[in-house]
């Protein structure tokens, strides 16, 4: 599904990702943990195609295609989805209209006709139930005045609408109360299948109780320094990052 090799990325001339490597197969769930400022969001944004991120070297192959050659919109139509750490508020455009444009852009890309109003509405109903989002939220301006938790739910709703193959969740659990966390995690779990992969960035092991990962990676100074199974997250939760840091420094 996704193969990242020796990826080095700079922002404003400063190297953030350094020689980063990661392999994700179809259907797998990978979690990335790591202290603040180690480059987790930079990785997510680079994969999604944000322009300010300058790729100095390395390659990213997504479903056999060179991802780095595509603009952000093309990547999304090819099946990359980023649930933002900080979803953007856009006054004046409803989530409904936004999703209509996005769903139809993807359909056009796949050589399909735009959805008619009835089918679109049906789809909206179905997917909004998945994350228990109220219909009134969808007619409001995108994220405008939404609470932190509501914004995150809206991200997962959009993910459900667009049915991507690679879902990157950047701290989707931050700012969620216990009920919302369960709802969002359930939504994600319903979307799990053999063809869809997940890259879950989080600070808290708690999320991984709900979304059980196949692999857990620890990121440090712009690269993955340790990988393991779900038990690695438990160890990090209990002991913090110091022991990983020591291991790294010893090498």
């Amino acid at each position: 599904m996704l193969s990242i090799k020796n990826l080095t990325v700079a922002v404003n001339g400063k190297e953030i990702l350094k020689d980063f490597n990661l392999e994700i197969k179809a259907g797998e769930v990978h979690a990335i943990m790591g202290p603040n400022g180690t480059g987790k969001s930079t990785l997510a944004a680079t994969l999604a195609g944000k322009e300010d991120y300058e790729v100095l070297s390395g390659e990213v192959i997504f479903k056999g295609k060179n991802l780095l050659e595509m603009d952000a919109d093309e990547r999304a139509r090819e099946g990359v989805f980023l649930a933002f750490q900080y979803p953007v508020e856009i006054p004046g455009v409803s989530t409904t209209n936004f999703m209509k444009a996005a769903v139809n852009a993807k359909r056009k890309h796949n050589g399909l006709e735009p959805l008619d109003a009835k089918d679109f509405l049906k789809m909206m109903n179905e997917k909004s139930q998945l994350v228990e989002i109220k219909r009134e939220f969808l007619s409001r301006s995108i994220n405008e005045g939404f609470s932190g938790g509501e914004k995150k739910r809206n991200e997962i709703f959009q993910m459900a609408m667009l049915e991507p193959s690679l879902c990157i969740l950047d701290e989707t659990d931050s700012g969620l109360d216990i009920d919302a966390l369960r709802i969002v995690a359930n939504g994600v779990n319903k979307l799990r299948n053999a063809e869809r992969s997940f890259l879950v960035i989080t600070h808290y092991q708690r999320l991984l109780n709900y979304i059980v990962p196949d692999f857990v990676h620890v990121m440090f100074g712009g690269r993955i320094v340790k990988s393991g199974g779900k038990e690695l997250a438990l160890k990090l939760e209990a002991e913090g990052y110091d022991w990983v840091k020591e291991e790294v420094e010893m090498i």
């Binding site: 944000k50 139509r77 444009a101 890309h109 301006s141 667009l162």
Partner: protein, 434 residues
């Protein structure tokens, strides 16, 4: 323009009742001429260079063409409308309302049949001894619409006053005029709709005078949606009496499609709040592409105390388009407890587009609340990325964000049918199908 000679031709074209006033205006225009950029109000709009030398004020061509027929066919079949082609009234293309307490007819007819009423109001709101184009218009008016609404009469359906240009004479400089009078407690919605339905460049100069009586309400939409290859000068003067409300939305989509670079639209919109507790909303939305030039000069004149006003203008400029925003708020010494608000925002979508934006507040009373804000900027990069990250192309994302920026002005249009009409037009213009 050989004004004197042209006037001899024009003398008999309009009613003899109007002749003394028109002669005064002619005299004023001969003194004023066409303003140059040295004139403070025309500093950023070089109208003198744009207007051709050999313009004709007395052309009579008034052909119906396919573009006009198609447009009329696209309107709701029942909509009240007065249709003018190159300034000439066409009753056969119009649906003139026949309502109790409401008089709607051409200005020519009004001069002949409602002489007292017209003479009391015509030319009294515009200052033709100082305003160049008001003077020219007053002297050379071809025709226009007259609407009078009697006391406490509410007109529920909007009236569309349509000015089409179908001329084949590239030198025609059309002079049209509306006079709208609302008595106490009356209410009216109308649109002044300008379209270039020809394939040549057109020039026109339009004036409207609107009287809003005590506790009366007027909603006017100035629609300049197909003014490609046009030089259009618009003047809208209103006076609002006690408890009256006047709202005007000026919508300009100027996208020259033949690239002649001639599109120039100037709007002078004035609301004079002459009675206590009156209110004015002057809103505007303009889109300029290629070499279009769109100039909005607005004035809210607070004469009486306890009045409120809002100005909300938004512009989207692309290509090498230029915009001018000049928003004046005058607060006269008696106008205590005035509450006036102004906001002007422009979105520049290219490096070559530019705008000159100037608020002008002149306050001569001490107990007032006035605020103004101006912002000029580009599209929000984060918002653009957010939309693109969902698979929407950069072009469409730009259109969506432009829609988000612009729709606020359309939302402010009071008249529901006109608001809906504009909302659809805005989506058309931005090629959005949601």
């Amino acid at each position: 323009m050989e004004v004197q000679k042209e006037f001899e031709l024009a003398e008999t074209a309009f009613t003899k009742e109007s002749l003394p006033l028109r002669k005064n205006a002619l005299e004023a225009f001969e003194k004023l001429g066409i303003p140059s950029m040295r004139h403070e109000e025309w500093k950023y709009t070089n109208i003198k260079a744009k207007l051709k030398q050999q313009l004709s004020l007395t052309t009579t061509d008034s052909q119906v063409n396919a573009a006009v027929k198609n447009y009329i066919a696209s309107l709701p079949p029942y909509a009240f409308r007065l249709t003018f082609l190159n300034g000439v009234f066409h009753p056969e293309l119009s649906i003139v309302p026949d309502l109790k307490g409401v008089t709607v007819c051409s200005l020519k007819e009004a001069f002949a049949h409602h002489t007292t009423l017209v003479e009391k109001h015509f030319g009294k709101l515009v200052n033709y001894s100082e305003e160049h184009f008001a003077a020219l218009n007053t002297a050379f008016v071809t025709d226009g619409a007259f609407i009078h609404v009697q006391r406490n009469v509410i007109v529920n359906e909007p009236i569309y006053i349509q000015y089409f240009f179908t001329a084949t004479d590239a030198n025609a400089f059309t002079q049209t005029r509306n006079l709208v009078i609302l008595e106490e407690g009356a209410s009216l919605q109308f649109a002044e709709d300008f379209r270039n339905a020809s394939n040549i460049n057109v020039q026109y100069n339009h004036v409207a005078e609107v009287y809003v009586g005590k506790n009366a309400k007027v909603d006017v939409a100035k629609l300049q949606l197909e003014v490609s290859n046009a030089i259009g000068i618009h003047t809208l003067e209103s006076s609002v009496e006690r408890d009256g409300r006047f709202s005007a939305a000026t919508i300009t989509f100027s996208s020259p499609n033949t690239g002649t670079g001639n599109a120039l639209i100037r709007n002078n919109v004035t609301a004079r709040l002459v009675g206590e507790n009156a209110h004015a909303d002057l809103n505007g939305l303009y889109f300029g592409k290629e070499t279009a030039h769109i100039d909005n000069h607005i004035l809210v004149d607070h004469v009486a105390p306890n009045c409120t006003s809002n100005q909300l203008y938004k512009g989207v400029l692309n290509g090498e388009a230029t915009g001018v925003f000049n928003g004046k708020i005058f607060v006269k010494p008696d106008a205590q407890k005035t509450n006036a608000f102004q906001s002007s925002k422009a979105l520049l979508l290219s490096n070559e587009a530019s705008i000159n934006s100037k608020p002008q507040l002149e306050i001569f009373a001490d107990d007032v609340k006035c605020s103004h804000g101006a912002a000029i900027g580009q599209l929000d990069e984060n918002a653009l990325f957010y939309l693109m990250a969902r698979g929407i192309t950069k072009e469409e994302a730009t259109q969506i964000l432009t829609y988000a920026f612009a729709h606020e002005v359309v939302d402010h249009v009071h008249s529901q049918p006109i608001r809906q009409f504009l909302c659809d037009k805005l989506k058309d213009e931005l090629q959005l199908n949601f």
